[in-house]
Protein backbone atom coordinates (compact mmCIF):
# COMPACT_ATOMS: atom_id res chain seq x y z
CA UNK A 1 0.00 0.00 0.00
CA UNK A 2 1.38 3.41 -0.91
CA UNK A 3 2.22 5.82 1.93
CA UNK A 4 -0.51 8.20 0.74
CA UNK A 5 -3.05 5.42 0.91
CA UNK A 6 -1.95 4.51 4.44
CA UNK A 7 -2.41 8.12 5.53
CA UNK A 8 -5.77 8.38 3.78
CA UNK A 9 -7.00 5.23 5.50
CA UNK A 10 -5.86 6.45 8.88
CA UNK A 11 -7.56 9.80 8.29
CA UNK A 12 -10.80 8.15 7.31
CA UNK A 13 -10.66 5.90 10.38
CA UNK A 14 -10.33 9.07 12.48
CA UNK A 15 -14.06 9.65 12.11
CA UNK A 16 -14.76 6.23 13.61
CA UNK A 17 -12.18 6.88 16.35
CA UNK A 18 -13.61 10.26 17.36
CA UNK A 19 -17.21 8.99 17.26
CA UNK A 20 -16.20 6.31 19.72
CA UNK A 21 -13.84 8.11 22.07
CA UNK A 22 -15.89 11.31 22.34
CA UNK A 23 -19.36 9.85 21.80
CA UNK A 24 -19.19 6.32 23.17
CA UNK A 25 -17.76 4.40 26.09
CA UNK A 26 -18.75 4.35 29.74
CA UNK A 27 -19.79 7.78 30.95
CA UNK A 28 -19.39 8.70 34.58
CA UNK A 29 -20.27 12.37 34.67
CA UNK A 30 -23.36 12.13 32.49
CA UNK A 31 -24.05 14.26 29.44
CA UNK A 32 -23.76 17.81 30.70
CA UNK A 33 -24.13 19.72 27.45
CA UNK A 34 -27.92 19.73 27.82
CA UNK A 35 -28.02 21.07 31.36
CA UNK A 36 -29.90 24.35 31.52
CA UNK A 37 -30.35 26.05 34.91
CA UNK A 38 -29.32 22.78 36.56
CA UNK A 39 -32.35 20.99 35.16
CA UNK A 40 -31.45 17.54 33.92
CA UNK A 41 -33.08 17.57 30.49
CA UNK A 42 -31.84 14.22 29.36
CA UNK A 43 -34.61 12.25 31.06
CA UNK A 44 -37.54 14.49 30.21
CA UNK A 45 -40.39 12.41 28.80
CA UNK A 46 -41.14 12.44 25.10
CA UNK A 47 -44.49 14.27 25.38
CA UNK A 48 -42.85 17.22 27.08
CA UNK A 49 -40.16 17.37 24.40
CA UNK A 50 -42.70 17.34 21.58
CA UNK A 51 -44.79 20.07 23.19
CA UNK A 52 -41.67 22.17 23.66
CA UNK A 53 -41.33 22.35 19.87
CA UNK A 54 -44.85 23.77 19.55
CA UNK A 55 -44.03 26.37 22.20
CA UNK A 56 -40.77 27.27 20.50
CA UNK A 57 -42.63 27.82 17.24
CA UNK A 58 -45.24 30.01 18.89
CA UNK A 59 -42.53 32.11 20.51
CA UNK A 60 -40.78 32.60 17.20
CA UNK A 61 -37.68 30.64 18.15
CA UNK A 62 -38.31 28.54 15.05
CA UNK A 63 -39.75 31.17 12.70
CA UNK A 64 -38.87 29.39 9.50
CA UNK A 65 -39.75 25.85 10.41
CA UNK A 66 -43.54 26.26 10.29
CA UNK A 67 -43.57 26.50 6.53
CA UNK A 68 -40.78 23.97 6.06
CA UNK A 69 -42.77 21.50 8.13
CA UNK A 70 -45.22 21.66 5.30
CA UNK A 71 -48.26 23.20 6.94
CA UNK A 72 -49.19 24.75 3.61
CA UNK A 73 -47.69 22.33 1.16
CA UNK A 74 -49.14 19.14 2.55
CA UNK A 75 -52.70 18.07 1.88
CA UNK A 76 -54.67 17.00 4.89
CA UNK A 77 -55.35 13.68 3.24
CA UNK A 78 -51.75 13.18 2.18
CA UNK A 79 -50.77 12.61 5.77
CA UNK A 80 -52.88 10.74 8.25
CA UNK A 81 -54.06 13.22 10.88
CA UNK A 82 -53.08 10.60 13.42
CA UNK A 83 -49.55 10.58 12.06
CA UNK A 84 -48.13 10.88 15.52
CA UNK A 85 -50.44 8.34 17.00
CA UNK A 86 -50.31 4.62 16.60
CA UNK A 87 -49.63 4.72 12.86
CA UNK A 88 -46.28 6.44 13.06
CA UNK A 89 -45.08 4.71 16.18
CA UNK A 90 -46.56 1.32 15.39
CA UNK A 91 -43.40 -0.38 14.28
CA UNK A 92 -40.97 2.19 15.57
CA UNK A 93 -38.42 1.42 18.20
CA UNK A 94 -39.91 4.09 20.44
CA UNK A 95 -42.97 1.94 20.91
CA UNK A 96 -46.52 3.02 21.56
CA UNK A 97 -45.90 3.13 25.28
CA UNK A 98 -43.30 5.89 24.80
CA UNK A 99 -46.09 8.37 24.25
Amino acid sequence: MSPTRVTAERDVALVDLVDRLLGGGVVIAGDITLSVADVDLVYVGLRALVSSVATAEEKGVLPQMGDALGKHALDSDALDSEAFGTDAFGDDSLGKSAL
Binding site: V12, A13, L14, V15, D16, L17, V18, D19, R20, L21, L22, G23, G24, G25, V26, V27, I28, A29
Partner: protein, 198 residues
Protein backbone atom coordinates in the same frame (compact mmCIF):
# COMPACT_ATOMS: atom_id res chain seq x y z
CA UNK B 1 -6.34 13.48 39.31
CA UNK B 2 -6.37 10.10 37.66
CA UNK B 3 -7.63 9.17 34.25
CA UNK B 4 -9.82 6.10 33.76
CA UNK B 5 -9.14 4.11 30.61
CA UNK B 6 -11.39 1.10 31.01
CA UNK B 7 -13.40 -1.04 33.38
CA UNK B 8 -13.07 -4.80 33.63
CA UNK B 9 -13.80 -7.77 35.87
CA UNK B 10 -10.65 -9.56 34.82
CA UNK B 11 -8.22 -9.81 37.74
CA UNK B 12 -4.93 -9.73 35.82
CA UNK B 13 -2.84 -6.65 36.59
CA UNK B 14 -2.07 -4.13 33.82
CA UNK B 15 1.42 -3.06 32.77
CA UNK B 16 2.76 0.17 34.29
CA UNK B 17 2.13 3.08 34.14
CA UNK B 18 -1.44 1.72 34.31
CA UNK B 19 -2.79 0.68 37.69
CA UNK B 20 -5.75 -1.38 38.78
CA UNK B 21 -8.15 0.23 41.25
CA UNK B 22 -10.35 -2.56 42.53
CA UNK B 23 -13.73 -2.76 44.21
CA UNK B 24 -15.34 -6.13 44.85
CA UNK B 25 -14.69 -7.85 41.53
CA UNK B 26 -14.68 -4.74 39.35
CA UNK B 27 -11.47 -3.02 38.30
CA UNK B 28 -10.91 0.46 36.97
CA UNK B 29 -7.75 0.63 34.87
CA UNK B 30 -6.17 4.03 35.48
CA UNK B 31 -3.09 6.17 35.10
CA UNK B 32 -2.13 9.61 36.40
CA UNK B 33 -3.95 12.33 34.47
CA UNK B 34 -1.83 14.42 32.14
CA UNK B 35 -2.50 17.85 30.75
CA UNK B 36 -2.90 17.41 27.01
CA UNK B 37 -4.15 19.23 23.99
CA UNK B 38 -7.04 17.48 22.32
CA UNK B 39 -5.63 16.34 18.98
CA UNK B 40 -6.03 13.34 16.72
CA UNK B 41 -2.62 12.05 17.82
CA UNK B 42 -3.60 12.21 21.48
CA UNK B 43 -6.77 10.27 20.71
CA UNK B 44 -4.87 7.63 18.76
CA UNK B 45 -2.40 7.19 21.60
CA UNK B 46 -5.19 6.84 24.12
CA UNK B 47 -6.83 4.27 21.87
CA UNK B 48 -3.57 2.33 21.65
CA UNK B 49 -3.55 1.99 25.43
CA UNK B 50 -7.13 0.72 25.55
CA UNK B 51 -6.56 -1.71 22.69
CA UNK B 52 -3.42 -3.12 24.29
CA UNK B 53 -5.52 -3.76 27.41
CA UNK B 54 -8.25 -5.30 25.29
CA UNK B 55 -5.80 -7.82 23.85
CA UNK B 56 -5.41 -9.36 27.30
CA UNK B 57 -8.93 -9.03 28.72
CA UNK B 58 -12.54 -8.14 27.99
CA UNK B 59 -13.31 -4.60 29.06
CA UNK B 60 -15.60 -1.59 28.82
CA UNK B 61 -13.74 1.40 27.40
CA UNK B 62 -14.29 4.74 29.14
CA UNK B 63 -15.28 7.82 27.25
CA UNK B 64 -12.13 9.80 26.51
CA UNK B 65 -11.20 12.29 29.18
CA UNK B 66 -12.80 10.58 32.16
CA UNK B 67 -10.97 12.00 35.13
CA UNK B 68 -11.60 11.43 38.80
CA UNK B 69 -10.03 12.99 41.87
CA UNK B 70 -8.30 9.92 43.30
CA UNK B 71 -8.57 6.17 43.88
CA UNK B 72 -11.46 6.62 46.33
CA UNK B 73 -13.41 8.49 43.66
CA UNK B 74 -12.69 5.69 41.20
CA UNK B 75 -13.99 3.12 43.69
CA UNK B 76 -17.14 5.22 44.20
CA UNK B 77 -17.65 5.37 40.43
CA UNK B 78 -17.49 1.56 40.32
CA UNK B 79 -19.75 1.06 43.32
CA UNK B 80 -22.38 3.55 42.22
CA UNK B 81 -23.07 1.75 38.96
CA UNK B 82 -22.01 -1.76 39.86
CA UNK B 83 -25.03 -3.63 38.45
CA UNK B 84 -25.00 -1.68 35.17
CA UNK B 85 -21.29 -2.32 34.74
CA UNK B 86 -21.61 -6.02 35.43
CA UNK B 87 -24.46 -6.28 32.94
CA UNK B 88 -22.47 -4.39 30.30
CA UNK B 89 -19.42 -6.58 30.86
CA UNK B 90 -21.54 -9.69 30.34
CA UNK B 91 -22.99 -8.10 27.24
CA UNK B 92 -19.60 -7.57 25.58
CA UNK B 93 -17.76 -10.59 26.94
CA UNK B 94 -15.68 -12.24 24.20
CA UNK B 95 -16.64 -9.64 21.60
CA UNK B 96 -15.26 -6.58 19.84
CA UNK B 97 -16.82 -3.73 17.90
CA UNK B 98 -16.68 -3.28 14.16
CA UNK B 99 -17.70 -0.07 12.43
CA UNK B 100 -19.34 0.05 9.01
CA UNK B 101 -20.07 3.07 6.88
CA UNK B 102 -21.46 2.98 3.37
CA UNK B 103 -21.69 5.73 0.80
CA UNK B 104 -23.71 5.65 -2.40
CA UNK B 105 -22.22 6.43 -5.80
CA UNK B 106 -22.24 10.22 -6.06
CA UNK B 107 -23.96 9.97 -9.44
CA UNK B 108 -26.84 7.92 -8.08
CA UNK B 109 -27.22 9.99 -4.94
CA UNK B 110 -30.35 12.14 -4.85
CA UNK B 111 -28.52 15.22 -3.68
CA UNK B 112 -28.52 17.50 -6.69
CA UNK B 113 -30.20 20.86 -7.00
CA UNK B 114 -33.02 21.00 -9.50
CA UNK B 115 -34.25 17.58 -8.47
CA UNK B 116 -37.98 17.11 -8.78
CA UNK B 117 -39.91 16.26 -5.64
CA UNK B 118 -40.70 12.83 -7.00
CA UNK B 119 -37.06 12.08 -7.84
CA UNK B 120 -36.06 13.17 -4.35
CA UNK B 121 -38.58 10.91 -2.66
CA UNK B 122 -37.73 7.93 -4.86
CA UNK B 123 -34.02 8.41 -4.24
CA UNK B 124 -34.75 8.53 -0.50
CA UNK B 125 -36.70 5.30 -0.72
CA UNK B 126 -33.87 3.63 -2.66
CA UNK B 127 -31.30 4.80 -0.12
CA UNK B 128 -33.33 3.47 2.78
CA UNK B 129 -33.70 0.17 1.00
CA UNK B 130 -29.99 -0.06 0.16
CA UNK B 131 -29.01 0.70 3.74
CA UNK B 132 -31.29 -2.10 4.90
CA UNK B 133 -29.83 -4.56 2.38
CA UNK B 134 -26.41 -3.95 3.85
CA UNK B 135 -27.33 -3.75 7.48
CA UNK B 136 -29.61 -6.79 7.75
CA UNK B 137 -27.07 -9.52 6.86
CA UNK B 138 -24.34 -7.84 8.94
CA UNK B 139 -26.65 -7.51 11.93
CA UNK B 140 -27.55 -11.17 11.58
CA UNK B 141 -23.90 -12.17 11.87
CA UNK B 142 -23.29 -9.89 14.85
CA UNK B 143 -24.29 -10.40 18.46
CA UNK B 144 -25.79 -6.94 18.55
CA UNK B 145 -25.84 -3.90 16.33
CA UNK B 146 -26.81 -0.27 16.39
CA UNK B 147 -27.52 1.99 13.44
CA UNK B 148 -26.22 5.49 14.13
CA UNK B 149 -27.12 8.88 12.71
CA UNK B 150 -24.69 10.31 10.21
CA UNK B 151 -24.47 11.71 6.70
CA UNK B 152 -23.64 8.32 5.15
CA UNK B 153 -26.10 5.92 3.58
CA UNK B 154 -25.37 3.59 6.48
CA UNK B 155 -23.43 4.17 9.65
CA UNK B 156 -23.55 1.33 12.14
CA UNK B 157 -21.65 -0.44 14.91
CA UNK B 158 -21.64 -4.20 15.29
CA UNK B 159 -20.75 -6.25 18.37
CA UNK B 160 -19.01 -9.29 16.94
CA UNK B 161 -17.54 -12.35 18.68
CA UNK B 162 -13.75 -12.09 18.62
CA UNK B 163 -13.49 -15.27 16.59
CA UNK B 164 -16.17 -14.16 14.12
CA UNK B 165 -14.36 -11.01 13.00
CA UNK B 166 -12.87 -12.63 9.89
CA UNK B 167 -16.26 -14.03 8.84
CA UNK B 168 -17.76 -10.59 9.30
CA UNK B 169 -15.12 -8.95 7.13
CA UNK B 170 -15.64 -11.70 4.56
CA UNK B 171 -19.34 -10.86 4.50
CA UNK B 172 -18.54 -7.17 4.05
CA UNK B 173 -16.39 -8.10 1.06
CA UNK B 174 -19.16 -10.21 -0.46
CA UNK B 175 -21.74 -7.48 0.08
CA UNK B 176 -19.41 -4.99 -1.59
CA UNK B 177 -19.06 -7.31 -4.57
CA UNK B 178 -22.83 -7.71 -4.78
CA UNK B 179 -23.66 -4.00 -4.53
CA UNK B 180 -21.43 -2.17 -6.96
CA UNK B 181 -23.11 1.20 -6.51
CA UNK B 182 -22.31 1.19 -2.82
CA UNK B 183 -18.94 1.92 -1.29
CA UNK B 184 -18.41 0.17 2.03
CA UNK B 185 -15.87 1.06 4.66
CA UNK B 186 -15.30 -1.26 7.61
CA UNK B 187 -12.95 -0.42 10.47
CA UNK B 188 -11.98 -2.17 13.68
CA UNK B 189 -11.69 -4.13 15.81
CA UNK B 190 -12.56 -1.45 18.32
CA UNK B 191 -13.21 -1.83 22.03
CA UNK B 192 -17.00 -1.99 22.51
CA UNK B 193 -17.59 1.79 22.85
CA UNK B 194 -21.07 1.68 21.35
CA UNK B 195 -22.23 -1.12 23.63
CA UNK B 196 -20.67 0.01 26.90
CA UNK B 197 -23.64 1.97 28.22
CA UNK B 198 -27.01 0.34 28.98
Amino acid sequence: MIELYAITDDPSPPDPPLRAVRSDGLTALCAPAERRQLTAEVLWRHEEVVEALMEERDLLPMRFGTLVEDDEAAVRALDERREELKASLDRVRGAVELAVRAAADPSSDGAGVGLSGTEYIRAKARRTEAAGLLHEPLAFLARESVVQPGPELLRAAYLVDRDAVQSFVGLVRRLQATHEGLHILCTGPWPPYSFAQP
